[in-house]
Amino acid sequence: MLVKNKKDFFSGFFLLLLGVYLAFRSMQLSVWSRFGPDEGFIPLLTAVIIIGISLVITIKSLSLTRGQEKEETLEKQKKEIGSVFKVSLYIVLIILYGLFLEKVGFLITSALFLFIMLKYVEKQSWKMTTFAGLASIITSYLLFVYFLGVLLPRGLIKWW
């Protein structure tokens, strides 16, 4: 048995596991009482649908015969690694931004986030980094704090 469609195989298999877990957890809730369906009813129903369809997707992604496999060029592989690295950087920076926003404060975290994103991830010039960074911080500060009255975390700098 060979994998014909890797995307469908992995996603289908993952969702199958998720469905099984959801079904298992739903059964720990009350599914049906003498009055009718209970709190476990919809979760179990959705779990059954997820299991059924993800099973079909996984099976359909398999093939009994070996198909023609597309050979990836070195250049394409390099490009893909590069884009995965960039997305990973985005992810790490967003997590750090979210985690430090409250403790360090809006001004410092936002300035650092924008600086790293613009200068090192997106490789913009110093002029563009400074201009876009400052414009973004000032606009969002005015929008959130003055216009919408949002209380942004002050963190380490208390004077603003």
Binding site: P37, S83, I94
Partner: protein, 513 residues
């Protein structure tokens, strides 16, 4: 109705609301111009901001984004052969050809005027049809609501552009995500893993910002094609170039009228929306034309019909939300979220309980269409310039707005983490060819659906036949079953030749784009 409209204009014509409408329309126009970033992502990102605004102003602004985006998407379709919006893909077929022939101004002009006429006609139809439909909706009990939601979800899934199986899977996942938190009937905690942040369930805005905002940004971070700009044809510089002449009007009047009517009714249909309306209008025009061979080679009616249809579809889409409380597409689901964030449940009672909001919103659409016409004709050059802003600069700003927006919901960093997780899910869904729209829609209607289905089954002592013994729910269930058993689209489109043509067009033309 005249009284109600006057009351509505009293609200929508206040300085504050005109400004909100202007902001919404301009933002919509801008994001319509930017390929990749659509009204769904923008409304998702701005949901949290509008929480701090007055509810009427917030809804007026968010709605402006939706219909404004339909206008904006046209510019890039005609001038760059890049559809700013899915609903303007069809405009490329003839619009870009017209631009190559040096008639870009006429294409943009007729699109703007057609959109204005259709948008206004759609708003009039919404004003007329919504009140009686609301009365009809009062006859709905839990079984009818369940059946309606089953039909709605079924249509959304079957009319989606991707794999039907994957769409059903995403719908089920959306319903499952909606069950996290306290059970709406028994108040028992489900899947909270002991976390206080999950007791209330996932916040709709957090899910939407993650799936559509962060997910989109992550996807664009790796996709170089999405950032690249293509050949640009000459942008019309003088106002006269944008005004269609008498001959253009003569050819386009009927397509605009047909597009307006077709678009409005397809917009009402769950899962219909602007994209399908524009394709259907194009197919219709091509089929009834005496010179179908002109289509795809710069026929002005190939721009006028679809552009009118996608605008009136937006108005039609408001009908199910405002009368039944059921969103017919994902943007409407987000607008429903905005209503709920402000403590208002859209539905048949909205006209009675919140007439100011209802009529204020409806009348703001008249104003919005005028604003968009004014914005479109003289400012096309400005909107073309917006395309030059690099994504590299836009994406950090969008992430920052999303992070602060998520945090400001409850001043809880956990919301930012949840948003990031959903962003990652949204990104992976795009990578693995799963559509996020059915997930979002199912999540939004999840609670009402669960309540209705359980209440119905309690009423019938667990007998599912309750959905087939009441006339309205019977009709809705039969239609839903029909859609499931024999793909309705194929049947409809084969008989009317409309949908088969639509599918063929999508197939042929998407190869070219």
């Amino acid at each position: 109705m005249i009284e109600n409209l006057l009351m509505g204009f009293n609200i929508s014509l206040t300085f504050h609301n005109i400004i909100m409408c202007f902001i919404g329309c301009t933002l919509g126009q801008i994001i319509g111009v930017l390929p990749g970033l659509g009204p769904t992502a923008t409304i998702a990102m701005l949901l949290t901001l509008t929480y701090k605004l007055n509810v009427t102003s917030a809804i007026i602004m968010l709605s402006g984004i939706y219909y404004g985006a339909q206008y904006g998407g046209t510019i890039t379709s005609v001038l760059f052969k890049i559809p700013g919006e899915a609903s303007t893909v069809v405009t490329i077929f003839d619009g870009y050809q017209m631009a190559l022939q040096g008639r870009a101004g006429k294409a943009l002009g007729i699109a703007a005027f057609g959109s204005f006429i259709a948008g206004t006609a759609g708003t009039i139809a919404l004003s007329i049809l919504a009140p009686p439909l609301s009365g009809f909706a009062l006859m709905f009990g839990p079984p009818e609501y369940t059946a309606l939601m089953i039909l709605g979800l079924t249509l959304v899934i079957y009319l989606g552009s991707g794999s039907t199986m994957k769409a059903i899977l995403m719908g089920a996942l959306g319903l499952a995500l909606g069950t996290v938190g306290m059970d709406p009937l028994t108040a028992i905690e489900r899947f909270t893993f002991g976390s206080q942040s999950l007791v209330e369930g996932f916040n709709m805005a957090v899910l939407a910002m993650g799936l559509f905002g962060i997910g989109e940004i992550l996807y664009m971070a790796e996709s170089t094609e999405a950032r690249a700009m293509r050949d640009v044809v000459k942008c019309p510089s003088r106002l006269r170039e944008l005004l269609p002449d008498r001959k253009d009007w003569k050819i386009s009047m009927m397509p605009i009228a047909r597009g307006s009517v077709l678009g409005f009714f397809l917009g009402i249909l769950p899962g219909g929306g602007a994209m399908i309306s524009s394709f259907a209008a194009y197919a219709l025009e091509k089929r009834i034309s005496r010179h179908p061979e002109r289509f795809g080679k710069g026929a002005i009616e190939g721009v006028a019909g679809p552009e009118s249809a996608n605008n009136s579809a937006v108005n039609g889409a408001f009908i199910p939300l405002l009368t039944l409380g059921i969103p017919s597409n994902v943007v409407m689901a987000l607008l429903m979220g905005a209503f709920i964030l402000h403590g208002i449940t859209p539905g048949p009672f909205i006209m009675e309980k919140h007439p100011n909001l209802f009529w204020g919103l409806v009348t703001s659409m008249y104003i919005g269409n005028v604003i968009l016409l004014i914005l479109n004709i003289p400012l096309i050059k400005f909107f073309v310039k917006i395309m030059e802003v690099p994504y590299a600069v836009l994406s950090p700003l969008i992430i920052m707005i999303c992070v602060i927006g998520a945090y400001s919901l409850n001043y809880n960093p956990m919301d930012v983490i949840f948003m990031f997780i959903f962003g990652l899910v949204g990104y992976l869904m795009k990578k693995f060819d799963y559509e996020p729209a059915p997930l979002m829609l199912a999540f939004v209607v999840g609670e009402i659906f669960e309540k209705s289905i359980r209440q119905s089954l309690v009423l019938s002592h667990g007998n599912p036949l309750i959905f087939f013994t009441r006339p309205i729910s019977l009709i809705l269930m039969v239609v839903a079953l029909f859609v499931i058993v024999s793909p309705l689209i194929t049947v409809l489109f084969k008989r009317g030749r409309l949908i088969s043509e639509y599918k063929q067009i999508v197939k042929e033309e998407s190869k070219e784009i």
